[in-house]
Subunit: 588 residues, 2 copies
């Protein structure tokens, strides 16, 4: 396939677009891949569309390869199924809603769980029809509060979403693994740097959940990885390894002490070191048990107080907390609400009054580090007093644990316990997770099992951000001078530059362009007559096709230059060998 | 490629869906190609999606073949460009409008003229950049008052739309012809019966305009064709050939006559035959000139009266009239409005008071048959009186002509004048037309010409209803027992049936399925173990793959049956030759 720069619908820009915050966005606009139509809404120019189609092609091959069947749902969807699962309201301002001329309610689909579930319910009724995997590649819509970074967070975007349908949990496990393997092949073929991290599945009800992240400073996701083993997890998904239960028979009994004016951890630690100095080591924030009060806002509008106990050197991480509780939202408990619980003494709250059995009746969940046998200084529920030597499991028993404490660089790895965690940022490009029976329950997707009994189907959910992948791959691979596409997703295989106005150069370049195209190579041929070689090279570097072939001065000596866009490595190849040489590079 | 019926996500239905009015809709649902999601909104199942992709593939190849470049615009569009051209209001209830969380106005794109025009304006600035043709294949939205017939008139549908951009009218003519030729190739490859008819371009401002129609009784378009020559036109586009001007020197002078109680053509003709009987032939409705009053509703809300003069044996065809005047709407003039024009005497209105120079001041357009020198009986603008021997061009001069009279079977062909017209119904599948400078003017798309002067670009507009094509081709090719796809758009090349539970049959069929797939044939293999041959044959006929291969009883004699789905012709082929035989059919 041969496309001439003199014909290609493109205009490269020397200036960065004003609204572009991240490098991939800047370069995709400057190199003429995409064009903004509205905030978070983009048009695809021919170059961009070619990359998009290559990415779609890779995904399609691998999905077909695991026996997933392609379908296509509308983007304009009726309200009813989303009402049945509660998502019509849960999404809040996050979706586009509209009415038709008959005042019927519609939405632009943000995801299609409901539609897939109902379609399978509509067609299938027996365990013999399963397992089944369906997928689609299609436009999705979310009314983001802050669309940003070009294609990275748009309001109209393309997703591949698939769902697996199984009768048994073991079946789901297999379907999940098959999809996960396909995802690894897909991301490998993209040819860039990614990481698979454990993720939460929120209140989706599933168990296993993993994200495929592009490693990128501009990403919105923070993940951690171990310095020793291969553990990697989204911060929301990190599960602290609790210390083993410790014996506490030899520990002294708990005792309340006067600690006036110590409503903060900092003031308490100072007081402890002044009045209760220890020989072995000074008191530190980590010796104290901090109890934080929050209010849970349930989707149905009800509010519920919750107390969270965690070591005094940790903070509650709102995203981690909400990640556990989704779709419940969390806010801090304000003074007025605190005042409605007379048992709570601000600055001196302790486990004594917490828990469903405590005098406050407030549910009390603690960080896994507050394990049985651990010893703490904490509030005595009396103004100006704390309790010392309070032992978990002996002196108090919380209602459960919760992963709400912040995760920090240097924390022990929960997997190997030898390395420590370090954090990095990434772009979420894919997510595989075991959805379970949430949607099948809500929408009544049941089939007859071998015994003629109705059983609820269990589902897996697997998504890839297709348009986002264009930007994420660009972001990971670009350099100072432009885009720099991996081979399999590049818009063309070769960027051929005719450098110079010499008739012989133009003729030789034209001949080579045809030879390569005839050999099955996709060639972008810069044949522009009135453009200087310098401008042509700049455009080639900006556009980022992996191999740049230049027919120019060397031609007099029978040589043509072949340059690797990524490494910058150049090689003069005898003219008569160029076709085979380049074909070899493309096929490699 | 090999797909097994035991795996394919499909369930064929024996019953017609309740809401399906036309055969293609019934069969596409029953055979498991599509599924209704909401009124006029459909989900594509694997079989349907395969047909859709084949159609898209053919279109893409031919568009690329004429050098059109593919782009892709969003479906969710900002209001502003549509405001600039006036279409935001012109569309009325016909489009989906919505607001984002910041109260910004958006629409779901019904067509993308504005976006294409603005994109080219954004990137290009010189005549050297032109000619240019761009296209996209993409979801479109219209809030149809009456979505019907499945994919034939949906509210979310897929279109290929392309636009050409030229500096000169001659350039547009060439671009138009190139697109038209590509359309002929595309529709030929679809493999069904279609007709190209002249069409109106409404107020789009262009000149040449043609539609590609599928011949179908269920179609919403009426077209006429000549019994002698190759003339064919959408009824809206038929241009009556006016009679040559006739000398009128020998004609008697006009004279008013008392014609009491003759407010209708019928009563007038009866009166004429009673009181003014002619020797050569009786008076007929065609001898009278009927003047019809209507009101034009302009998009800006203003109303304008219009008088239309036409032979008394013709009616005003509202669609033809509106086709000339688009986007103006037309309604009959009611009594109250008529009363506001004292010069108009109901039932006796004549050219005497009509025309911009007449005492009514109402614009007066006549049918082309009311040509210079023709002689008429018409209203005398006095209660109970008509004028006889009133000669056009002698006694009155209208403000112009208009194509508003109905077109009838048996009318003279306007092209050859030898044949007569006969009407038929069709489904509009494609439209090519010369859009001209309407959008370029409205949105300021200008480029510098050779002399450095700014000139407005002229555009062509070319559309194909892609999802509609699935239904239209199905409609044209189906038969009593099911769908019956033309070779190039069929979901599979071969439907292979293992008929019988015999192990040898199953094994042979399975082997053949693999052999064919390895030879590059797309095989749908009915391998279902517990399904009777009868049900399998019924499913194969319903699904409509062009070649049905049956491995069954004949196998004992080394024979396999190959059946043509369309003709029903069967042939027993020696087992060892089946692969080559079938491959030959597929490649033919």
């Amino acid at each position: 396939m041969l496309m001439r720069m003199s014909t290609l619908f493109v205009r490269t820009l020397r200036e960065d677009p004003a609204d572009a915050e991240v490098p991939s966005h800047r370069l995709l606009v400057r190199a003429g891949y995409i064009r903004r139509a509205a905030p978070g809404i983009y048009s695809w120019l021919p170059l961009g569309l070619r990359v998009l189609r290559k990415i779609e092609g890779i995904i399609r091959e691998e999905m077909d390869g695991i026996g997933a069947q392609e379908v296509s749902f509308p983007a304009l969807l009726p309200k009813e199924p989303y009402d049945a699962t509660g998502r019509w309201t849960e999404y809040g301002d996050g979706i586009f809603r509209l009415k038709d001329r008959k005042d019927g309610d519609y939405l632009l689909g943000p995801t299609h769980e409901e539609m897939f579930t109902l379609l399978v319910k509509d067609l299938y009724s027996s365990y013999k029809d399963l397992p089944l995997s369906l997928y689609q590649i299609q436009n999705k819509y979310r009314d983001e509060a802050r669309p940003r970074a070009g294609l990275l967070r748009g309001r109209e975007f393309i997703m591949k979403d698939s769902y697996s349908f199984d009768v048994t949990d073991a079946g789901l496990e297999e379907s999940y693994q098959r999809h996960r393997d396909a995802y690894v092949r897909i991301f490998d073929r993209f040819g860039f740097d990614y990481v698979v991290v454990k993720a939460t599945s929120g209140a989706m009800g599933g168990s296993a959940s993993e994200e495929f992240l592009a490693k990128a400073e501009v990403g919105e996701d923070t993940y951690v990885r171990c310095t020793k083993c291969d553990y990697a997890a989204n911060v929301e998904a990190v599960q602290v390894r609790p210390p083993a239960p410790q014996p506490y028979d030899d520990l002294p009994a708990a005792h309340a002490e006067q600690t006036p004016d110590t409503p903060t951890i900092e003031s308490l630690v100072a007081h402890l070191n002044e009045r209760f100095a220890r020989e072995d080591r000074p008191w530190a924030a980590g010796d104290t048990l901090k109890n934080v009060l929050v209010v849970l806002k349930h989707p149905d509008g009800t509010r519920e107080p919750l107390a969270i106990g965690l070591p005094g050197d940790r903070e509650v991480d709102q995203k981690r907390l909400e990640g556990q509780l989704e779709p419940i939202e969390v806010e801090a408990m304000d003074e007025a609400e605190l005042a409605r619980h007379p048992a709570l003494v601000k600055g001196y709250i302790g486990p004594g009054v917490l828990g469903e059995q405590g005098s406050s009746g407030i549910r009390y969940l603690v960080d896994p580090r507050v394990a049985q046998g651990t010893r703490w200084v904490t509030g005595a529920d009396v103004q100006g007093q704390h309790v010392m030597d309070l032992v978990a499991g002996r002196d108090f028993t919380p209602d459960g644990t919760i992963e709400a404490a912040d995760v920090r660089d240097g924390d022990h790895c929960p997997h190997c316990d030898e390395g420590v965690l370090e954090s990095a940022r990434g772009i979420e490009m894919g997510h595989v997770f075991q959805l379970g029976r949430k949607y099948a329950d809500a929408l009544g997707l049941q089939v007859l099992d071998e015994n003629g009994k109705l059983v609820t189907v269990t589902m897996g959910s697997y998504g890839i951000g297709v348009s986002r992948a264009v930007a994420a791959i660009a972001e990971d691979t670009l350099d100072d001078i432009g885009l720099c596409w991996p081979r399999h997703v590049a818009p063309y295989d070769v960027h051929l530059v005719a450098a110079g106005k010499d008739e012989a150069v133009l003729a030789a370049a034209d001949r080579l362009a045809h030879e390569l195209a005839d050999a099955g190579v996709d060639v972008l041929f810069d044949d522009r007559a009135k453009v200087s070689p310098g401008v042509k090279f700049k455009d080639a570097e900006l556009i980022g096709v992996p191999t740049i072939v230049t027919v120019g001065r060397g031609l007099a000596d029978g040589l043509i230059e072949v340059k690797d866009r990524r490494t910058g490595e150049r090689r003069d190849v005898p003219a008569e060998q160029v076709r085979d040489h380049v074909t070899g590079l493309v096929r490699a």
